[in-house]
Symmetry: C2
């Protein structure tokens, strides 16, 4: 598996000079991304592509190849994989479509593919997939240009998506939000490498702190359960199950050929095994960002600090809805906070530090709440539009959150200026949410985190 995520040499089989072909786009991706190893284009019709010597077969490359990306037409894709096996290539990403998703002939082709790789050292991601994106290894088989699909920066969330297009759209969204990832994999028809292989690998991977999975149906339900159970105490595993009900699972069957099975059974199994369910596509990264970067709260007592009363009220509503408490602060907290608040203020939780709050008022109140024994977690609402609040608030929040003794989640809504500041917070591992509801749901997910 390591060769998928840390290759030193890559063969791009089906590379092309034609800028409209995937074989060109992917080769260019690797070069633009400054892939540090060696790239070997393979195409019998060309002598050179993008300045690199082109080979007529992967078998003619003398050097050892760690990773082969295959995007030849379906007529010869199995032959090419056979060559990869012959050359002892440990990792193959088979982009080519035209397998079981296309009907009877494709199914036969897929069975043949399975035979080809059986009992060999070659592992295959695919076929009919968009493959890999890895900001550390600098590999990128997503065949969409950067202007349409932004790539996320280096981060700590590994993202596995059974649906390629869904995964790509979410990556694009994440990139624009400043959310980083450690690795992205979409395995398409999943002829070989599956969720279990990937979970096992990412559990050992030092860059990954949380694993996020979009799953229509597991290939081996029982084995997935065992795998999650074995590992979920080490790193959080978040699963969005698609194909929950009748219409959805019919759709999943025709989409990825997955037997979705009973949602109720699946849900209770993965939850029991220690995975955390994301109910919606927005929950996925909402939860993953909290789980990757913030500690588990010791209890359900939450403080809300806000410079906009409305967000305080909505946060209190959401906390109560999801079973949290808003205890009063300890006496010493109240007296500390009183010192820096306007005379007429009363010190409640939610704590409204009002519209003229500056960075200092946030600093005093957050630090006081972090020390307060009545408080297990803090939701900080920041309306960044107000006049007295300057961009230093980002540094303040990062520095008070460094100890990570209590989880801290941010609520902040706004436009471009706000988004720029929230991206900086995101880079520091402090998750920000556009609504109190989403922050509180994520805090609830954090309650399910293991203590490790």
């Amino acid at each position: 598996m390591k060769a998928f995520f840390n290759p030193k040499t890559v063969a791009i089989i089906g590379a092309s000079k034609n800028i409209k072909k995937l074989g060109h786009v992917i080769m260019k991706n690797f070069m633009d991304f400054n892939f540090e190893g060696e790239i070997y284009p393979v195409n019998p019709k060309e002598k050179e592509i993008l300045g690199k010597k082109c080979y007529n077969s992967v078998l003619n490359i003398k050097e050892k190849i760690d990773l082969a990306v295959v995007l030849v037409p379906p007529e010869c894709s199995n032959n090419v994989v056979e060559q990869c096996v012959k050359k002892n290539i440990p990792a193959v990403v088979l982009i080519t479509a035209g397998y079981k998703e296309t009907g009877a002939i494709g199914i036969t082709k897929e069975l043949e593919l399975k035979r080809i790789i059986k009992n060999t050292k070659t592992r295959v991601i695919g076929p009919n997939c968009i493959g890999l994106f890895d900001p550390y290894a600098r590999t990128d088989t997503l065949f969409l240009p950067d202007y349409k699909l932004k790539r996320p920066s280096q981060g700590e969330i590994a993202f596995i998506s059974q649906s390629g297009a869904f995964g790509a759209a979410i990556l694009d969204w994440a990139a624009t939000q400043g959310i980083g990832i450690s690795h992205f994999v979409s395995y398409g028809n999943r002829v070989d490498v599956d969720d279990i292989d990937l979970i096992e690998y990412f559990m050992k991977d030092k860059k990954t702190k949380a694993i996020l999975i979009y799953l229509e149906g597991p290939r081996q339900g029982r084995a997935l359960y065992d795998c999650i159970k074995k590992h979920s105490s080490k790193k959080p595993i978040i699963i969005l199950k698609a194909g929950k009900y009748k219409s959805g699972s019919n759709a999943a069957a025709s989409h990825t050929g997955s037997l979705a099975g009973s949602y109720t059974v699946f849900k209770s199994a993965i939850t029991q095994a220690g995975a955390i369910e994301a109910e919606t596509s927005e929950d996925m990264f909402d939860y993953a960002r909290a789980l990757a970067h913030q500690p588990k709260p010791k209890g359900k007592n939450v403080a809300v600090i806000t410079n906009g009363g409305g967000f305080g009220v909505l946060s209190a509503d959401a906390l109560e809805k999801y079973g949290f408490n808003l205890p009063q602060f300890e006496k010493q907290t109240i007296s500390k906070i009183s010192e820096i608040m306007p005379g007429y203020s009363t010190i409640h939780n939610p704590l409204d530090i009002v519209g003229d709050a500056d960075v200092n008022r946030y600093e005093v109140t957050i630090k006081a709440a972090l020390k307060d024994k009545n408080i297990d977690a803090i939701i900080v609402c920041i309306l960044l539009q107000t006049a007295p609040l300057d961009p230093d608030i980002v540094d303040l929040i990062s520095s008070v959150n460094e100890s990570k003794k209590k989880p801290m989640l941010i609520v902040s809504a706004g436009g471009e200026y706000t988004q720029i500041l929230l991206k900086s917070l995101e880079n520091e591992g402090i998750p920000a949410y556009p609504s109190p509801e989403r922050a509180v749901r994520s805090l609830k997910a954090l309650l399910k985190k293991s203590n490790n």
Copy 2:
């Protein structure tokens, strides 16, 4: 009330030359926004502000004044309002804080203010408020600079927010999403003009197609119920109630002094009266955009069309969760769609037109679904990142949606490129949502729309 939303002459009482003062920021807002009427700064210490002759009292302005914006210190704000009454100014926005929110002295001040305007022709929005933003009248009393707080363009949603800071943050967000509004009002302590006055006015206002209210507590519960009941069949009224539970309603009491009352009673009353409840802050504009621009579906039968299978599966899940059906298409629909789909495809609902779908494939399938008698509403998932889909998709969706015989909601997730195209769709009155869940919740809200 009309003078608030269509003033020809505005006095800015407390205007200032000091660029750090609100009196400067607001005067500059009006000028930068190209307010078409006449602006009269009032400040006894200045002769001229921003090139305009400055008056030492509003009483010294000879011309009739439609709207006075008051931001003098609290020591003299009641006196100034008294002068406005004397000059027969019909509309006063009283920004000045320091009233009941500050304790006993403030409460006395607020009672005095009530006496001053009682039985006069002067109506007051405020005090302690951020006031108005109106892209048609080109009035703007929001005292935050444009780089921090973007202003929305002209649209058809009237937005009333009891919380100023919350309202401003949401406006900023809406502007960045390309969501337009007709009018924005935040009335602060609500000494005079309240939700009922505003609903009555916006019901008659031709620019407004839906009314959105963030409310911590009504001033007169029974009267609000009657008002909603009287009008809700004409234009949709969407209400986000804050202060639902104990902690939240305590917070509301200290925030806007509202007695939140029983949420259960409130919820059943407003729903019975025909308002539509937004449960979260994201629901608000999600629902309003659908309700302002899309027709009520005739039934619960929904078609899903997608170029990404995963979004189809998730949409089917969400539809079933919220009580919708996904019927099969009529025979003639299936045969029409079959003509343009790849050979191996089967025509189901959700309809996966697969990753190589171009604008034409969307056109044929959407038009077929619009004609299909089995279908009441259409959810169109568009992954704009794919290679064959060019920006013409925006024009196509706009043109097929022109008849508005069946509601059409878009699901599309992505980054900058996607957001640019979705903004164009938004301008055409076609609401786009970042997740299937949010589109389906909004479709559910559309079911509650009146037929008018």
